[in-house]
């Protein structure tokens, strides 16, 4: 494929009225798709979690409970109402952030999720930072050397990194840094209010295990996209007008190479959000993932429903944002679907 330097093209394109018009229509279409997808996802989640054979009230009270007690609790939880009612009530709660009360503890769910986010949020951000910090140098280095043996070795390292699942890596890191070196905590979380350094220390190993694998995947895309740019005509032109290879790559290459990487970065971000669920289990961090798993175990279905929908929304939002950004940055993509 012929690759052009996008800088001048973009500026010319942005000025056109047709483009402005197309952009508006594209944004409207994309946001509509997002809303429809969210609606269908919420329907599916609700449907799956409400067709199960076990009645929540029966599960909460145990097998010893009298039928009248079960009926009373079912009524109290609002589970005797028609499913459509329950669904609308749930959705209304989600939109207004009144997530209802846990079936098990009876406590409001929103604050519990809020404090879990204090762990999961920084964990995902940390994982992203680690991932980018690994992918950029590894990808660029292996692209610049892709014809030499050292480049092949570098991309081999990335290939091995991809094959190690984050929870396996987490356990390896625990063995090295917690069991052997006793340098970092193996599990648990020191809250932000107790000690900021303590909280950061308990997030180091989880963030590294989360980010390393995603970084290895990302490195492959960085490599591919830079190799593509290296062969582009505009880079040869830049060299011809007297720029040194590194200058040419820095001024013209990286910006153009970053466009395809951006999309993958978005996918990686949703991968990180899901990966956090597993990593929190490895390091027993009290985040959203641990809350989700313990709710599954206790059959606290309303909490499960809320968290699944929350995570799905986050993933969909990220994907939509990346898609919009991608098409706005790269005019070649066009705005028609």
């Amino acid at each position: 494929m012929q690759v052009a330097d996008l800088g001048p093209t973009i500026i010319a394109r942005r000025r056109s009225i047709t483009y402005q018009h197309e952009l508006r229509r594209f944004l409207i279409r994309r946001v509509t798709t997002l809303v429809v997808t969210l609606f269908l996802a919420s329907l599916t989640v609700f449907w799956v979690l409400n067709i199960l054979p076990g009645k929540p009230a029966q599960v909460i009270l145990g097998t010893q409970a009298t039928p009248s007690a079960v009926a009373a609790l079912t009524a109290k939880l609002g589970l005797d109402r028609p499913l459509v009612d329950q669904y609308l009530h749930w959705i209304h709660g989600l939109i207004t952030l009144h997530l209802g009360n846990s079936y098990i503890s009876g406590q409001p769910i929103a604050p519990v999720i809020g404090s879990a986010l204090e762990v999961t949020g920084p964990l995902v951000v940390g994982g992203l930072l680690v991932g980018v910090a690994i992918a950029a140098p590894l990808g660029i280095a292996s692209a610049l050397r892709h014809t030499r043996r050292s480049g092949v070795i570098l991309s081999g390292i990335a290939q091995i990194g991809i094959a190690i699942p984050n929870f396996v890596l987490g356990i390896l890191l625990i063995i090295i840094f917690a069991v052997d070196l006793k340098a970092l905590p193996a599990s648990g979380f020191i809250t932000w209010s107790t000690s900021i350094t303590g909280a950061l220390r308990s997030l180091v190993l989880p963030a590294v295990s989360l980010g390393l694998v995603e970084g290895a995947i990302l490195a492959r895309y960085v490599r591919a996209s830079i190799i593509e740019v290296l062969h582009a005509d505009f880079l040869r032109t830049a060299r011809a007008k007297g720029l040194r290879p590194n200058q040419a790559l820095l001024r013209h290459g990286l910006r153009n190479a970053s466009i395809p990487v951006l999309t993958v970065l978005g996918l990686e971000l949703s991968g990180l959000i899901i990966g956090a669920v597993v990593i929190e289990a490895v390091f027993t961090l009290p985040g959203l993932g641990s809350l989700l798993l313990s709710s599954v175990e206790n059959r606290d279905l309303i909490t499960v429903q809320d968290i699944v929908m929350l995570v799905a929304t986050a993933v969909l939002l990220v994907n939509t944002a990346v898609d919009i950004l991608y098409r706005v940055i790269d005019p070649r993509m066009g705005l028609r679907s």
């Binding site: 054979p53 396996v168 356990i171 490599r223 490895v282 175990e297 993933v315």
Partner: protein
């Protein structure tokens, strides 16, 4: 080539160098990494098959006088907290993990390929609905789908397989549709249509043979994804319930004994990583063979 090669006129013609033989030579010139990948996958599959009939010890046999044994001749990978032979459990775990992953890929294949074909043939409303459905499914992470399904119907091998399988449908639907579309726009399909072949006949005679190699690469790559998902689910206690040995489950229990015996956690971790590595390199290699322009580009 020997130095005595016959020279016809000025142009040396290497023996047997027709377009066809070049094509086959390219097909069978595997890169070293592809061979390594194929070897790893073969060993893993053989291990799974052998474990159906034979493991060195019973994978569930408890021996309280042989707990936490270091690797030795009698127990090549040592024993676990109940004195069970780790190698036997790992072998049986290979079988369970592979079966579950294959089951998931089979579900995705059986639903995804026909759906992709229909979407390619009926490009109107029907195709649009199918592909929007695939998009919706694709945007919903597999692990999240699995956790939701487990919350609804309980943890089991079946639940894990079903959830991962459903979540993998879009992977096949998309690749089938895009490849089928390019085949359908070819002139020989036009000729077949002119000849009066039905959609079903065209799908069977022209489309399927053409997408088969791509499906093979896709199966290898998807298997590595499903193996990771199966292992993650059993690690989280949402897959095959204990005492059945699973890679993820072994890892999870081993984590409780990291201070006593860190090796216990190493074996299942290695098994997962090596298998995924093998499938990835094999899948990439097959894809490179099919489309040499992709080589080194990813």
């Amino acid at each position: 080539m020997s130095a005595r090669r016959k020279v016809q006129g000025n142009i040396p013609v290497p023996p047997g160098d027709s377009a066809r033989s070049r094509h086959y030579r390219r097909l069978f010139t595997l890169s070293p990494s592809t061979i390594v990948g194929a070897l790893i996958v073969t060993v893993v599959v053989l291990t799974a098959i052998i474990s159906i009939w034979w493991t060195p010890y019973g994978p569930l046999t408890i021996n309280t006088s042989a707990e936490f044994l270091r690797p030795s001749l009698a127990h090549p990978l040592g024993t676990d907290e109940y004195g069970r032979d780790v190698l036997s459990r790992l072998m049986k775990g290979t079988q369970i993990t592979l079966l579950s992953s294959l089951g998931a890929v089979a579900i995705a294949l059986v639903v995804g390929v026909p759906a992709g074909l229909v979407a390619a043939f009926k490009r109107g409303v029907v195709g649009e609905i199918i592909m929007r459905g695939a998009d919706l499914l694709y945007s919903f992470p597999a692990l999240l789908a699995a956790i939701t399904l487990v919350a609804a119907i309980g943890a089991s091998t079946f639940t894990a397989t079903l959830a991962i399988g459903i979540a993998s449908i879009p992977a096949f639907a998309r690749v089938t549709r895009s490849t089928a579309l390019s085949v359908l726009s070819s002139e020989y399909v036009l000729a077949a249509r002119a000849y009066g072949r039905s959609n079903l006949q065209i799908a069977r005679r022209h489309v399927l043979p053409n997408i088969l190699p791509i499906l093979v690469a896709q199966i290898a790559l998807l298997l590595s994804v499903t193996i990771l998902a199966v292992a993650a689910l059993s690690y989280l206690g949402l897959g095959t319930p204990p005492p059945a040995p699973t890679w993820g489950g072994m890892l999870e229990t081993a984590q409780n004994y990291l201070y006593q015996d860190p090796l216990l956690a190493l074996w299942p971790g290695l098994a997962i990583a090596i298998t995924v590595f093998g499938l990835n390199t094999l899948g990439d290699g097959v894809r490179d063979l099919l489309d040499p322009t992709l080589k080194g580009r990813r």
